[in-house]
């Protein structure tokens, strides 16, 4: 597989796979354990909500799930990420904070509007 041209798709229409504890989603996205604390901090900085590995994903709001999707994508090993409908799901303040984190990531990012 040519990993240089593949994109990690992060679609706000279905942001997460799991509904149980966060650690399941971290496992699926291959987030190294040494980066978990950093991911939790970034999520809290954007959403204002503290989380940890045992936080239950189904208890997050729709927007918080999208913010978590964004953090998982950015802390994954993927270098190329395509965000779909990110803007639609986030209020202006969260979107601004999210864009800041995206800018800091140094990854190749594409944005797509599904509508």
């Amino acid at each position: 597989m040519d990993t240089n041209t593949g994109f990690y798709i992060a679609d706000a229409a279905h942001p997460l796979i799991c509904t149980g504890p966060l650690w399941e989603e971290l496992l699926l996205c291959h987030i190294p354990s040494e980066r978990h604390a950093e991911l939790y901090t970034s999520f809290e900085r954007i959403s204002g909500k503290a989380i940890h590995g045992n936080s239950i994903l189904s208890e997050l709001s729709g927007g918080q799930k999208v913010i978590l999707m964004l953090c998982l994508a950015l802390y994954s090993s993927a270098q190329n990420i395509r965000f779909i409908d990110l803007e639609h799901s986030l209020d202006p303040a969260r979107l601004s904070a999210a864009m800041e984190l995206i800018g800091e990531s140094g990854k190749e990012i594409q944005f797509q509007d599904a509508s």
Binding site: G48, S61, G63, Q64, H88, D91
Partner: protein, 163 residues
């Protein structure tokens, strides 16, 4: 018209909604639920508004947030009951459900209520010019004559809702 009584509601174990004054929603009006992510708009829809509407003799059409599951369910339903009809995306879903709603309303007239949580194709709903009450939540879509309902997040995790 429906009334949502004033009071505090513990929606989830770690989240509550404070409604200081009674909220009223009337036919032929549009209401815009406004507030930041996590301020309880979707919780208000699913735990307060829709249960209240289900007690009334009305036609209720609800577009859910992150509607891919609703899209798949309606696709499957349409494949059985409307063979040949293709529902590919959210726009098709909106059109199909609005057609169905109009058809049901013609057969049995009742007040129509449409609730849309972060729907992309909100304009498609408005363009139908149905006699209804439309209540929608959106961050970046403004329908000109909508009446705002504000959600303000407070700490500890609770929000205040005001019309």
């Amino acid at each position: 018209m429906i009334r949502i009584e004033a009071g505090f509601r513990q929606i989830w174990p770690s989240f509550g909604l404070e409604i200081p004054r009674e909220l009223r929603f009337e036919q032929d009006r549009i209401y815009h639920l406004k507030g930041p992510n996590g301020s309880g708009k979707s919780s208000f829809i699913s735990q307060v508004l829709v249960p209240k509407l289900k007690q009334e003799q009305v036609w209720l059409l609800q577009f859910e947030q992150q509607a891919h599951l609703q899209l798949q369910a309606i696709r499957a339903w349409a494949a059985i009951f409307h063979p040949g009809l293709r529902i590919q995306d959210e726009k098709d879903l909106v059109g199909f459900l609005l057609d169905d709603l109009e058809s049901a309303s013609l057969k049995q007239p009742r007040p129509i209520w449409i609730v849309a949580d972060e729907l992309h194709h909100l304009e498609s709903v408005r363009e139908r010019q149905l006699s209804c009450c439309l209540i929608y939540s959106a961050h970046h879509q403004e329908l000109g004559d909508a009446l705002p309902i504000h959600f303000k997040a407070l700490n500890p995790p609770r929000s205040v809702v005001s019309g």
